[in-house]
Symmetry: C2
Subunit: 437 residues, 2 copies
């Protein structure tokens, strides 16, 4: 029996690594799933559920009986259990809550009182708290006793009778201090903490910046509610990055995993930006109609429209993604203008010369009138330089106005450059081809 269990466990961990666990488990019949939970035991089964996306885990849990589901939730780490519980069908959730031990049920409901994206929604109440007059050797003994149940034994938080946070002692402090000192004497009072209502990203950033293994979460009156541990950070940051990348692609970030998104949901997240960009791009039609006469006089000009505006968009996109990221990571702002702008402008000049030459050659190969080739080359040079300038100024300006520069997606900058690029193109054409003259 024990051998069988271990084989199953190994297999499931393999699936976790392949990210195929849910794909396999969701194919099981309810009775098969129940048998699996029984074989593994509630605790191990709960560990596997914690590896899944919470909505997937909730999906599986709903296939068990309320009693079984309650047992599994009780065996899980409270923060993981809360994440899953929040995604259950409300009716199902109520029934499961009834089946749970009153204390565990209460703990779960307290965790659920904070929205999932906040520090309170992410924290776990499995921490160690000590009163300040506990001695170092007593503290170590206490940590030993609860080691199996708490999330980390490397920090113990020092609180008063009303659970107000006074300080923190690390396992390192305890091990290094004489056993007869009290934790109140050796604790660090200058403590890094986060409000339960703060964004979970703030907690993650503080954890990383201060090099902590856990950060305490407090309420408005500085009472300790829970902790967020370093193993949550990767999760939080991964979500944040996904949001940034989706924004860069020109859509609203998805709030559910991609695999669970319905076509209708995907459409809803995207159509707004798509329409907005469409409206913004509409003026290209007006611009082209404005130059209708030039187009009729030299229809070959139309051949190069996609190439010119495409290249302008690409050049702008390159700058904007690099710059927006550097603004986030390296803290660049408008005060760095005189360091950033000349740099991008020179790089843009170089790129403009290369692309202008390439454009001229392309037009010659296509066999159009040399004057048109010259027009394409000169226009391309101007458009690249213009795109780079806009892509440099816009994020800096937005930051100055207090708007997150991450809204400047690649599609956004491409749209902006498309119409203005056409104006440049036809004006260059007018001058070089002496149209209307």
């Amino acid at each position: 029996q024990r051998g069988e269990r271990e084989t199953v466990e190994d297999l499931l961990w393999e699936l976790v690594e392949q990210r195929q666990l849910y794909a396999v488990l969701r194919e099981l019949e309810p009775f098969e799933l129940a048998r699996l939970a029984e074989l593994l035991g509630d605790e191990t089964f709960g560990e596997f559920l914690a590896e899944l996306d919470p909505s997937d885990a909730a999906d599986l849990l709903e296939r068990l009986s309320s009693q079984e589901a309650a047992d599994v939730l009780e065996a899980m780490a409270p923060d993981d259990a809360a994440d899953v519980f929040a995604r259950l069908d409300p009716d199902e959730a109520r029934q499961i809550l009834v089946e749970m031990e009153p204390l565990e049920a209460q703990e779960l409901q307290e965790l659920l009182s904070y929205p999932p994206e906040t520090a309170g929604g992410r924290m776990t109440p499995s921490y160690v708290a000590l009163l300040p007059d506990v001695r170092v050797d007593q503290a170590i003994a206490a940590l030993r006793k609860v080691a199996a149940e708490v999330e980390t034994i490397y920090y113990a938080y020092v609180v008063d009778e009303a659970n107000h946070l006074l300080g923190v002692v690390s396992m390192r402090d305890l091990v290094l201090s004489p056993p007869y000192r009290t934790v109140g004497e050796i604790m660090t009072r200058d403590i890094v903490k986060v409000r339960a209502t703060a964004d979970q990203e703030e907690a993650a950033r503080l954890l990383v910046e201060e090099g902590l293994l856990a950060i305490p979460v407090v309420d408005d009156e500085d009472r300790l509610l829970g902790i967020i541990t370093v193993d949550d950070v990767a999760d939080i940051l991964e979500r944040e990055v996904t949001e940034d990348i989706e924004r860069l692609g020109g859509s609203q970030p998805l709030e559910v995993p991609y695999t669970r998104a319905t076509p209708f949901y995907l459409w809803r997240r995207r159509i707004g930006w798509l329409l907005l960009l469409f409206v913004a791009e509409m003026y290209t039609g007006t611009v082209l109609r404005h130059f209708e006469q030039e187009l009729e006089e030299a229809i070959a000009l139309a051949f190069f429209v996609p190439l010119l505006i495409g290249t302008g968009g690409n050049a702008g996109s390159q700058v904007v993604t690099t710059l927006v990221r550097a603004m986030a990571v390296e803290g660049i702002g408008i005060r760095d203008f005189f360091r950033i702008f000349p740099k991008e402008f020179i790089a843009g000049l170089l790129a403009g010369v290369v692309m202008g030459t390439a454009g001229f050659l392309r037009a010659e190969i296509l066999g159009v009138d040399p004057a048109i080739s010259l027009t394409v080359g000169v226009a391309l040079f101007c458009i690249v330089l213009w795109a780079v300038t806009v892509a440099t100024l816009l994020p800096l300006l937005l930051r100055r106005l207090g708007i997150d520069p991450a809204v400047v997606s690649s599609p956004f900058i491409a749209t902006l450059v498309d119409g203005t690029g056409l104006v440049i193109y036809f004006n260059v054409a007018r001058i070089i081809l002496h149209l209307h003259s």
Copy 2:
């Protein structure tokens, strides 16, 4: 004196938080910088340098005398010191090495023998190693003694006489075990480790996935060389994300911080992709010349070219960024084809209907022939659906071929859709306007 030092320290930490430390320090004269280093002490000054980008820190270090620089480097954590040292001017570096203590100099050179992007380049040799016959109480005492010098005391690595890695004991294990047991008895043998030549991202991923506080780095013969601690993870992952984002924007990732990149360097990283996309976009010219007659017959068709291909590019970009990210995070592959494709196709159909209607209305507002309005609407519907299809299939196909789907940047998909979108547009026009008929 002590008060002054603390004020300066507070001020500098404030600058660290504002990401302005380097901006301020680089304005100091060498003698002012030397005075600052003296006031703070080598250790604290070194801590501030470690907060900077290594190239910035190297820049500052070069302004100190070799002796001063050597003292600061010795006081820094070896892995941080190595990062900075690697960016020093070679002549300067040689002189500083001469001034260092032989042992510290040797340690530094060993760390530098691995490229900076590898696990070996990122590790620190400040770990605790124990022989297996050390008793638990002796181990705790040993950890106490070295606590101030090592990177983490929460893990001790168990090695044989030749430094081969045998196992690991955590502080938790030590605290929970009877004092008379040996570390060899209580250690975990199934140890997660990484080769020194492996990519640092692999180390970071393992640390996160396994929920570890540190991961040991070994050579080909499984000898322990150093450890990478959890506080390096955020750094490594941040770099990785920056690379992904820069690739999405259609340029090669920068290998130096943006603020240190020269215009020429920026140009070099971008011009390759810009030219490649240009060449790929060149066929739009050929396509348009192919439809020259249609254009001459109905010049108004040209008005909508940027709008149509722009919208196609945007729709494709939305899909590709979401999908590529989901492939990285949620492990989606070609085997999920029948779950992904219908979803995107339906979402694309919905978007196509909306955008087609918008296109028709736009053309009507511009006051062109109703037949052309109809052409624009139908073509836009087809182009959106086509763009979504390409953007869904391409990343899955690339993954199947073993190519990283992250190469499909927004500009790449936009370029791909531009020309094919034109073909769709003019064929729709032929049918609806009965051109050539």
